[in-house]
Amino acid sequence: MHDNITVSFAPHISKPLSTRTVMIDVIMGLAPAMIAAGYYFRLRAFILIAACVIASAVTEWVCNVVRKKPFSLGDFSVVVTGIILALSLPPMLPVWTAVIGSVVAVAIGKMAFGGLGSNTFNPAMVGRTFLAVSFGTLMTTWTVPATIDPNMSKISAENILISDVSEFRTQATPLAWSKMAIKNNLGAETYAEAEFLGTVTGAVGGCLGETSVIALIFGGAYLLIRRTISFHIPAAVLISAVVFAAVGYWQDPMTYVQPLYHLTSGGMLLCAFFIATDPVTAPLTRRGMWIFGIGVGGLTMLIRLLGGYPEGVMFSVLLMNAVTPLIDRLCKRVPASGKPKS
């Protein structure tokens, strides 16, 4: 009859939003960090990002084909996964390793659970943790940023490199310093003051995307303004991290470094703005988000200060992902007008 008429449930209009636009926003938010990575680690950054994105996308496509599911690359979520994974890898990581990480991230971390929206754990962090656990040495081999040493020479976890050129003393990563300070009671302040500026601009060793605080703050602010993420999780993560770090510092300033230093070093900001906020693996309710964020920040600092690993972000995110269902259950919403009687 009227063959162009359609019926469906109300509402019949919708906000011009789609999963793709949300993901593109995140990619835009990640752009400053990617650019900073390119600036400090040159071609390596782009190679790794491209490798991770392509490998992730291909993995998802293959999974779709195997399961005879519709093509799902169009939502770009896998691109976000690839980029975040790449940004959390050491610059000199061999490409094949990054590819293994991407495949594990997408195949086991995401598609095994049913694809976008169903995964319990943050896929990028699953991939990264798998790599860290499997290839420990490769994953703790750092390089000097190209702005300091154009050769980007390797520095292994504990070595201090004194570049002839710039007289700039640098070391593996800021977190390796603080870990060493913890071990050797080195009076961390002396380290921290000198290198603080480096962590802000990004001229330090570390994972691709986590070195430049400025770039991360720009990206995070963009996401907040665009309302792609709500402020709850970043705020909770950062505040709880500062509090825990401050407790440590106040306990023993000779052993533990300044709280602010913990905020700017390692993956803390990347985590607060981009990783912990992954909506799929974070709680739904605001109260839940506070708990989740405090958990991520607290566990990160616990691992940094007391644990065996210098950085705790990936573990704390995975651990809190695991309890997200319980948090959601705990913070169940009650109707605005109270629970119904009977």
Binding site: M1, H2, D3, I5, V7, S8, F9
Partner: protein, 300 residues
């Protein structure tokens, strides 16, 4: 010879003399536990439903949890309440399954001849009219709640709520019409409860292999409206009722009295005389329903 014998004997004695404390302690342990458990099982007896007890007995009693329940006792209770859980006890295997089925069947098997589902619609997708295209949730209940995109508000929607309800893979949507595979159907009635339009009704078949005659339509629309909506719907013309007295027309819709139906000449005639061909056989070996007579189709 002698020597080796004595040596062996000595060896055994030696062994035993070293071994007796272990033997004694195990003896002690064994006796102790036997006493305690037996006394406890006497003193702390708790009354349970004998049927559950029976099922429990049929189960292996390993409390391994493979069934997803906390131990055999729990599983026994659960199976008792929901026989569909039969067969989730891996250790018990088919043995236990049969036994439980036996125990449970004693209670349920007295319901007389099996009723089996008949879908009271025979219209394929290309035989129905549509006002619009449905773009909503692919579920019959959802589509039924909306304005009728498909003109006939009484016939099969084909989004398969019944298919999802059937645990035995006995229902399929064929050309937009729910179709029962009577060889797989167990008569569990799940589908009849799932259909939002109440199209699937349980009908007493007289034996396993019978093909039952039915008026495969559910529409109480006036004949004219039916013709506009569906090529094979019942128009309530009453021809069938004139041929065979088990047919009757009420609210523009013909009904067959299934209990009184006997296969025979009269029924067959009614079937062939039906102008829209809505009287069909349904069953394990039912023939293809015939096409509607050309006249009404041309008219519509």
């Amino acid at each position: 010879m002698m020597l080796s014998d004595t040596m062996i004997l000595a060896g055994i004695l030696d062994l035993l003399s070293g071994a007796w404390p272990a033997g004694v302690i195990m003896l002690g342990l064994g006796t102790g536990f036997a006493i305690v458990l037996l006394i406890a099982s006497e003193k702390l007896k708790v009354e349970v439903d004998p049927k559950i007890e029976q099922i429990h007995e049929a189960l292996p009693g390993l409390d391994c949890g493979a069934c997803g329940y906390a131990g055999c006792g729990q599983y026994a209770k659960a199976v008792m309440e929901d026989p569909e859980l039969l067969g989730s006890c891996a250790p018990g295997g088919s043995d236990a399954q049969e036994k439980i089925a036996l125990i449970l069947n004693l209670q349920v098997s007295e319901s007389g001849p099996a009723k089996r589902p008949i879908v009271h619609c025979r219209s394929r997708k290309d035989q129905r009219a549509f006002y619009a295209e449905y773009r909503g949730i692919p579920s019959c209940t959802a589509a039924n709640a909306l304005a009728n995109a498909q003109a006939c508000k009484f016939g099969c929607l084909g989004y398969g709520d019944c298919v999802r309800a059937c645990k035995f893979d006995a229902l399929h949507i064929v050309d937009g019409l729910a179709t029962v595979d009577y060889n797989k159907c167990t008569g569990c009635t799940a589908c009849s409860k799932a259909c939002p339009r109440g199209l699937i009704r349980m009908v007493p078949f007289r034996d396993e292999n019978e093909n039952m005659m039915t008026v495969a339509c559910n529409s109480i629309e006036a004949g004219r409206a039916v013709r506009a909506m569906c090529k094979v719907g019942c128009i309530g013309c009453g021809i069938c009722a004139k041929q065979y007295d088990m047919f009757s027309v009420e609210d523009n819709l013909a009904h067959l009295d299934y209990a009184g139906y006997e296969p025979g000449e009269a029924a067959e005639t009614a079937m062939t005389k039906c102008p829209t061909g809505v009287i069909v056989y349904r069953g394990p070996s039912a023939p293809e329903p015939r096409q509607p007579k050309e006249k009404p189709a041309a008219k519509a």
